[in-house]
């Protein structure tokens, strides 16, 4: 469960303080699907980064699964990202040098505790790639695949550590509409099948319409009051 209370995030540009989030109180239940919408500069990327523990709030509290993120150190944050959150990026962010199998294995390699043996990691990565329909492309490198296939590999990578939350930042932004729709179908199916919390940042109202809830941001505040 994601719980934010009076969350404020301020950036410092030289001597000027730029507020990005100006007091967000938000609650997202386990298994919910939420779209975050808003114009650029509205703070949605910042909100996304804070939810994903890539960044810490300046003040206010953010409790993820009962643990206060604001109190955590760098190593703890890395562990939370590794175990609890799966990221899907607009640019896929796969390592071009490595095969997609190795790309998908990577989050498991970084597991600090209870890391399974290499063989098990390999088996699990192969399973994940089969689930996203890339069972026959295991040893291809990302640039040998289409955009849609790369995004599927990225989804497999996001899911390999069985996280509770999938954070997708414009996951269809770099894809044509047909492929984009396929990716959305896949994300929704995984969300429903595995009871995952799905949070998507998007500009696309048709994607937002597929979510159970839409959160709109304007100037660092929630537009429809606190959710």
């Amino acid at each position: 469960m994601i719980e934010m209370t009076d969350l404020i995030k301020t950036y410092r540009l030289g001597s000027v303080e730029v507020p990005a989030l100006r007091g967000i109180t938000l609650r997202i239940e386990d298994g919910e699907s939420v779209a975050i919408m808003g114009k650029s500069g509205s703070g949605k990327s910042t909100l996304m980064n804070v939810i994903g523990c890539l960044d810490q709030p300046t003040s206010g509290s953010y409790v993820l699964d009962g643990r206060n993120i604001a109190d955590m150190n760098d190593t703890d944050l890395a562990m939370v990202r590794n175990q609890r959150i799966g990221f899907v990026f607009q640019q896929f962010n796969l390592l071009p040098r490595a095969t997609i199998l190795r790309n998908v294995e990577m989050p498991m390699m970084y597991a600090a505790e209870n890391r399974p043996p290499l063989k098990e990691i390999r088996t699990r990565a192969e399973e994940m790639l089969k689930i996203v329909g890339l069972g026959d492309r295991l040893n291809h490198r990302p640039l040998e695949l289409s955009g849609g296939q790369q995004q599927r590999a990225a989804i497999a990578r996001a899911l390999i550590n069985r996280p509770g939350v999938i954070l997708a930042d414009e996951p269809t932004g770099n894809l044509d509409s047909k492929t984009g729709a396929e990716i959305m179908d896949m994300l929704l199916k995984l969300h429903i099948d595995n009871g995952l919390t799905l949070v998507i940042v998007t500009h696309d109202p048709s994607i937002a319409a597929q979510m159970s809830r839409v959160i709109r941001l304007r100037d660092g505040l929630l537009e429809n009051g606190n959710g």
Partner: protein, 413 residues
């Protein structure tokens, strides 16, 4: 992240930029190869010089005249005619002394038919061959009766015989002119090579009595004939120090001198080895130090390339952090990359250095072949040192990578 996976990834990312990695490695290769070859040449030179000195015998002791002081003015060491035949005789009875060979030396002009040369002339007794370990290829050495009869006989060093007669065999029995006086050649020495200080084959020997009276002789103020040096052979190497002390005491008593104002010097072969060793050690250190500079330059090359790599891969670092890499995971990853680079350079550098060293072994330097010795510790040291350089010069770039903020790294284009 498991170590083996990190090493695999390091190779993967290094091979993504093959030329760049190869050039960086080359920098380290040159540095390590220079260190290895320089140290091995230094070691080789040391071994060559030491073995030459040892071939004369490690149980040799030299007594040479010291400097004299007249009215408080010190003259050059060795210039004084303070050693006499009686001094030499007095040493024969000392314990652990096997043989005593006094000598008087100077330079002489030798002529045979149309050939002539200037060489070192040494007046010696029969004991000299034993003491200095000389062996002959033809004829005999100076005998006791030659010494008693002041005979005009001469023994030639091998290169002298070759210059005058064309070969070492043809000389025996011939008559050569020494400073205009006729001398009969009775023997030719086997070639011994150079000590690095002087060519032992370029000298000739006559009876000491003959030398003193007719060739290089001089006498001291009492009218006794002086000698240039006394060579003493101790029973074995371990007795050398004891014999040196006994000789010093004996001659001090004869000359009525006290420690600090002696008019003679006693030195052993070990002293020469020690001197030579300290000279070649300094030489090795100097050569190795210069080579070490190029190794450090190689290290800076690694740092340069690692900094480039880190900034090129900022986005990758961001991604790795987003999926759970800790600071220390990123740090290790980049440190492994720089260490792989430097270690690769180290291993290749040892091979290249070895090759250079053995090539140098083919080259003759002023008649002496130095056989470079690649020692295990210089190989180990160069390898470990190159690894340390990789770590040292990798720390800054790697910690820069590890400190990147995930949000900013991910946004990096």
């Amino acid at each position: 992240m498991r170590l083996i996976i990190s090493i695999l990834e390091a190779f993967e990312s290094l091979s993504a930029n093959k030329l760049r990695s190869a050039l960086t490695v080359l920098g380290v290769v040159i540095g390590v190869a220079a260190v290895i070859s320089m140290l091995s040449i230094g070691k080789g030179a040391q071994a060559a010089i030491t073995s030459q000195i040892e071939s004369i015998g490690t149980n040799l002791i030299y007594v040479s005249p010291g400097s004299t002081r007249s009215n408080g003015v010190m003259s050059a060491s060795g210039s004084a005619g303070t050693l006499t035949m009686d001094d030499a005789k007095s040493l024969e009875s000392l314990p652990n002394v096997v043989a005593v060979a006094p000598e008087a030396n100077g330079r002489a002009q030798l002529a045979y038919m149309g050939n002539n040369l200037n060489t070192r002339l040494v007046g010696v007794t029969h004991a000299y061959a034993t003491v200095r370990g000389l062996s002959l290829t033809a004829g005999t050495f100076i005998t006791e009766s030659n010494q008693i009869s002041h005979a005009s006989v001469i023994v030639l060093g091998s290169s002298v015989a070759e210059t005058l007669f064309g070969s070492t065999d043809a000389a025996v029995g011939k008559s050569v002119k020494v400073n205009g006086l006729p001398f009969r050649v009775i023997g030719v020495l086997a070639s011994k090579g150079s000590t690095g200080f002087m060519n032992q084959d370029d000298q000739v020997f006559v009876p000491l009595s003959t030398a003193q009276t007719r060739l290089v002789g001089s006498s001291n103020f009492r009218g006794a004939l002086v000698i240039s040096q006394i060579n003493v052979k101790a029973a074995d190497t371990s007795a050398v120090d004891e014999v040196v002390n006994a000789i010093t005491a004996t001659i001090r008593a004869r000359h009525n001198t006290i420690a600090g104002s002696d008019d003679f010097t006693v030195s052993s072969q070990q002293d020469s080895i020690d001197t030579a060793t300290s000279v070649t050690d300094t030489l090795s250190l100097f050569l190795g130090g210069i080579a070490g500079i190029s190794l450090a330059v190689g290290g800076i090359g690694i740092m340069n390339i690692m900094l480039t790599t880190v900034s090129e891969r900022t986005r990758e670092i961001g991604l790795r952090k987003a999926i759970g890499a800790r600071r220390r995971d990123i740090l290790t990853q980049f440190l492994i990359e720089s260490t792989v680079l430097s270690l690769l350079g180290g291993v290749l550098g040892v091979a290249v250095g070895w090759a250079i060293a053995s090539l140098m072994g083919q080259v003759q330097l002023s008649g002496t072949t130095i056989t470079p010795q690649v020692s295990l510790d210089s190989v180990l040291m160069a390898t470990l040192f190159s690894m340390a350089i990789g770590l040292f010069f990798g720390i800054y770039p790697a910690s820069r990578a590890a400190r990147l903020l995930p949000v900013e790294a991910l946004r990096h284009e």
